[in-house]
Symmetry: C2
Subunit: 240 residues, 2 copies
C-alpha cells in the first residue's frame, strides 16, 4: 500500500466519530444515552422525575466491586438524606463511597467481603435501611414483568422515589457478570428504562427494553443463596 | 408552645420538599437544573450536543481546590481522548482527577500550588494543550458579551466541542470565590447557559443568564497577574 493510502486511512480514522471511543461497543438491543434515539427517549419520557437528581449526582464506582456502593450513594444524595462530613469539603456534607460505609454497614456486609464479591440485592436493601428512608427489595422470581414495569415506572415518575436494579450483564448482551445501577427514567413509547451505569469507564448509560432488563434480573445469584436478582424500590419517609 | 404544636411543626418540616436539602440555596437569578423551569430550559435548548457526553461523565471535584482538575477530566472523558490506565479499573481506561496530573502538568502547575490556590484560566488552557485536542483561552476582557454568547452557544451545539468557564461566584450571587466548571447547554429563548457545577456538595447544576455569567467571568483574578477570568473553547483535532 502507498503512503498516500495510509495517510488517507489515518485521516478517515481520525475523522470518524468514535475514533477515540474508550468504552465497549453496545449490543444492538441497547441504545446509548447520547445517541439520537437515546436523546429522543429522554425527551419523550414522562416518567423521569428521578432523572434530574440522579444525573446531578452521577458517579463512577470506586472499584470494580463497588457498583452497589456507588448506586446507594447516588440515591442517598439524590434524596438529600442528611449526609456525614467529608474532611475535604468542610463545612459541606455529602455521601461518598467511603463515608457511606460505617460500623452498621460492616455488620451487614464486611468491607473484606464487599471488596471480593460486591453486594447482593438483599444487602442493598439492608444497607439502605440503615438510613431514614424506605427500601423494599423485590426478587425477580417474586414479581412479574408487568409488576416490575408498573412499579418501577411509577416510582420514576414521582419526586423522592428511586429504583436500583441488580442484573446479569451477559443476559442483556453486555460484558459480563452481575451488576448494580440506578434507573433514572422510563419511556413508555419505546418500553425502555434508562440505566445510569456506574461503571462509566466501561459502558455509557443505556436505554434497555423492559423484557431484556427483567430477563437480566431474573437470573440466579450464587453469592445470594441462589436467589434471583431484582430491584429495590426506594422512597423518602414522608412518601412525597 | 404545646407538644401538639411542635409535633405539627415537625410533621410539616418532614413533609416539606427540600426538608432534607443539603446544598446551598440558589439566588433568584439562578435556576436549578431539576426545577420545573430548569427542566423546560433543557427540553427547549437546541444547543445541547455537549450535554449528553458531559452528563455521562459528571464529577464532584476531589478537593475544594480541584474544580479545574474535575472540569478538565470531564471534558477529556466526554471527548473520549485516549486515557491512562487506572489500577482499579484494569483493563479499562479513563481519566481521573489523579491520573490526569503528570510530569507535564507539574511543569505548568505544581501540585503543591494547585492544592493551595487551584487553577487559573491560562493553566486550564495549558494543561488541556498537553492532550491531543485544541484549546483556545479567551479572557473576558478580550471578548464581548455578544462574542461569548455566539462562540459558546455554537460550540455547545456541535459534537466534539466543549466550553469550560472560569468565573467569580459572588458576582452571580453564589458563595463566593473563583470557580471553574464546564458548560453543557445553551437555551436561546431564556438566554441562559447550563453550568454543570463540579462542587456538587455545595450547589446543583444551574441555568445562568448570559449577562450574569459574562459579568462573573469579567472579574480580575489576582492569582493570574490580575488578568480577567473567562472561558476555554475546546475541540477534537479533526474539528468534528
Ligand atoms: Ca420535576
Ligand atoms: Ca445532597
Ligand atoms: Ca446528539
Ligand atoms: Ca472515555
Amino acid at each position: 500500500m502507498s503512503a498516500r493510502f495510509y495517510s488517507l486511512l489515518l485521516a478517515l480514522l481520525l475523522a470518524a466519530p468514535g475514533a477515540f471511543a474508550e468504552t465497549l461497543k453496545l449490543p444492538d438491543n441497547l441504545t446509548g444515552f447520547g445517541s439520537p434515539a437515546g436523546e429522543s427517549f429522554l425527551a419523550e419520557s414522562t416518567a423521569k422525575e428521578a432523572y434530574f437528581p440522579l444525573a446531578s449526582n452521577f458517579l463512577t464506582q470506586k472499584t470494580q466491586a463497588y457498583c452497589g456502593v456507588a448506586s446507594i450513594v447516588m440515591v442517598l444524595n439524590a434524596l438529600n438524606v442528611p449526609a456525614p462530613a467529608v474532611p475535604e469539603y468542610e463545612p459541606y456534607k455529602t455521601f461518598t463511597q467511603d463515608n457511606v460505609l460505617n460500623d452498621r454497614t460492616e455488620t451487614i456486609l464486611p468491607r473484606q467481603v464487599l471488596d471480593k464479591q460486591g453486594m447482593t440485592l438483599d444487602q442493598i436493601g439492608a444497607i439502605l435501611s440503615t438510613q431514614p428512608i424506605k427500601a423494599e427489595v423485590r426478587h425477580a422470581s417474586d414479581a412479574s414483568l408487568e409488576q416490575f414495569r408498573t412499579q418501577a415506572s411509577s416510582f420514576l415518575a414521582k419526586p423522592g422515589h428511586f429504583v436500583i436494579v441488580n442484573y446479569l450483564r451477559k443476559a442483556m448482551g453486555q460484558e459480563k457478570g452481575g451488576h448494580i445501577s440506578p434507573l433514572a427514567a422510563y419511556d413508555e413509547k419505546a418500553d425502555r428504562f434508562l440505566i445510569l451505569d456506574v461503571a462509566r469507564y466501561k459502558y455509557p448509560p443505556v436505554w434497555v427494553k423492559t423484557t431484556d432488563l427483567f430477563g437480566a434480573m431474573n437470573t440466579v445469584d450464587s453469592d445470594n443463596e441462589n436467589k434471583t436478582r431484582g430491584y429495590v424500590l426506594i422512597s423518602s419517609p414522608s412518601g412525597e
